[in-house]
Symmetry: C2
Amino acid sequence: MKRRNFLKKAAFGTAALAASTAVAVPSVLAKKKYNLKMVSTWPPKFPVFQIGLENFAKRVKIASEGQINIQTFAAGELVPAMQTFQAVSDGTVEVGSGASYYWAGKVRAAQWFAAVPFGLNAQGMNAWFYSGGGLKLWEEVYAPFNLIPRPIGNTGVQMGGWFNKKINTMADFKGLKMRIPGLGGKVFAKAGGTVTLSPGGEIFTNLERGVIDATEWVGPYHDHRLGLPKAAKYYYFPGWHEPGTVLEIMFNKKVYESMPKHLQMILDACAAQTNVWQLSEFEANNGEYLEKILAGGTKMYKFSNEIMATLRKLAKETLEEEAKKDLMSKKVNQAFKAFQKRIGAWGQFSEAAYHQLIAEKIKLKS
Amino acid sequence: MKRRNFLKKAAFGTAALAASTAVAVPSVLAKKKYNLKMVSTWPPKFPVFQIGLENFAKRVKIASEGQINIQTFAAGELVPAMQTFQAVSDGTVEVGSGASYYWAGKVRAAQWFAAVPFGLNAQGMNAWFYSGGGLKLWEEVYAPFNLIPRPIGNTGVQMGGWFNKKINTMADFKGLKMRIPGLGGKVFAKAGGTVTLSPGGEIFTNLERGVIDATEWVGPYHDHRLGLPKAAKYYYFPGWHEPGTVLEIMFNKKVYESMPKHLQMILDACAAQTNVWQLSEFEANNGEYLEKILAGGTKMYKFSNEIMATLRKLAKETLEEEAKKDLMSKKVNQAFKAFQKRIGAWGQFSEAAYHQLIAEKIKLKS
């Protein structure tokens, strides 16, 4: 490297470097290298999610001049998807990624940091994390597990899901078997449905064979990729259960805290960069895949106002019941509600009004 | 570089480097320091915008271990606000920040990267930049000026502005003197209004004294700070003229390109981090300030559908007229429209449906 800098200097000469006055400061630091393993809940090469993690690792390596070298593993390659949280907590691996509602069984309060039914959208979740104390609170929730969380992506508003029949009234949910995770799943159960939790790889087959009657997944881009238009006919919106689902990265706390400040800053900056990139990927691609799905004959429906109002009531009850079960959940639920209140009606005058303004209506089949 | 690769290989060695095993690699690098000056179009300590730049500089310094040291200057402290572009282009300073529509006089095509009337919102602009080729195109537009641009913030959907009278029909725009920049200003002129371009510091006085009849600024958070509720009574939405205004950072191209890859990556990652942070700040604070403004007696109005439809038609004409004036503007306009088309109606099923879902209506005075 000395040689490299020397060559560069020789090339630029002395006076050439006006502004960026290059002062050669001989550094005699012994630089620690951090070779980290990152596991995830996603299949290999999974667009946006796993590709996002791979991009993150590349960027971190470049920005740190190779000081941090993160080797990425997809679900099952090193540990099973659903052991990601535990593996990073234990220090078996140093980094992990998933969605925090997957760990509800270990830490109930984690659910609020992924997706809250009728809660915040992507812009709102980011605002909560970066400007409303949400990330600090998330750190507090994960600290006892020896973990440090960061948002690393967002799906945007999801679709409501794929159904093998029309959903006209609340009665249509009764006995319906649906793959639906997180707090949304709890609301669905309250509405009389049966919740199943198939991993991504089994959803298509289960739905096609009638093992389940319905599933939610992400949105047009990812739903199309999973083949869901071939497994069910009725595509519902909006995704009341996941209005802006957050993807997380988590670092083993001891490893993260052992790092010098500049490396922590690089990890944080690259995580935020990946966060905005993931949402951008969905925003850029969902429209195109929605058209493909509709062109294939899928019928698209909006949940009725009555169904939405009832589910919203059930969601409110579910959140309060969950919040009662432990002190940390209570604290997080209160903080979340306080931030929703702080944002208030702003969306009505900004984003909602904007969408009315530019709406190009697609006529829905009925 | 050969030598560097050799060192890297040697360091990674055989297999000795398990998980974060810290291996001390003696570094004998002579590190160039980059002492950069950053000027901007914003007043000192201006919330979100100038504070965002200061935070950016701090993060870059930490992440680069002091290799990049950016000294920030507010408007007028080193060069006048409106000379920012030229100063960075010339190399008088190395970094600058503003909004790209300020430079329309020098480079017409720049306007599309700030705000397009009835165009993309914040999420759409980010998607265009990061996932739709928009940033590459912006680089192409700025390259002849020896500049490299990056988005570093976004206001979200703005408010439509402050007026000293009710706007009931298009006729009410005739002869109205309004402070309104960018392509929106050109549309307003087409509607029969007179455009003025007062800098931020003069808006309040001009509006209060009747030098102008109306102004747009940003949104509740910043409008309240400027005292606008005391200068005009009628507060209109939505901000059809600026549905997601992008704040930019621009680097002198020669300086940026002279930097090693890791420093370029740090600048890029921290810019993206600041981008999402700025939008988060507006999202977190606008609701609260909107309530303050309404509590102070301001009346809030929505532009009528007829006015919006007419302005949208005028906006379309304006964009095509501007696009005809030079080849680069034509290219950018076409790319922008193609990306809008690619996003298509997705917003109708995601964000628009979400806002209908969670809307807490504030009753408007009429």
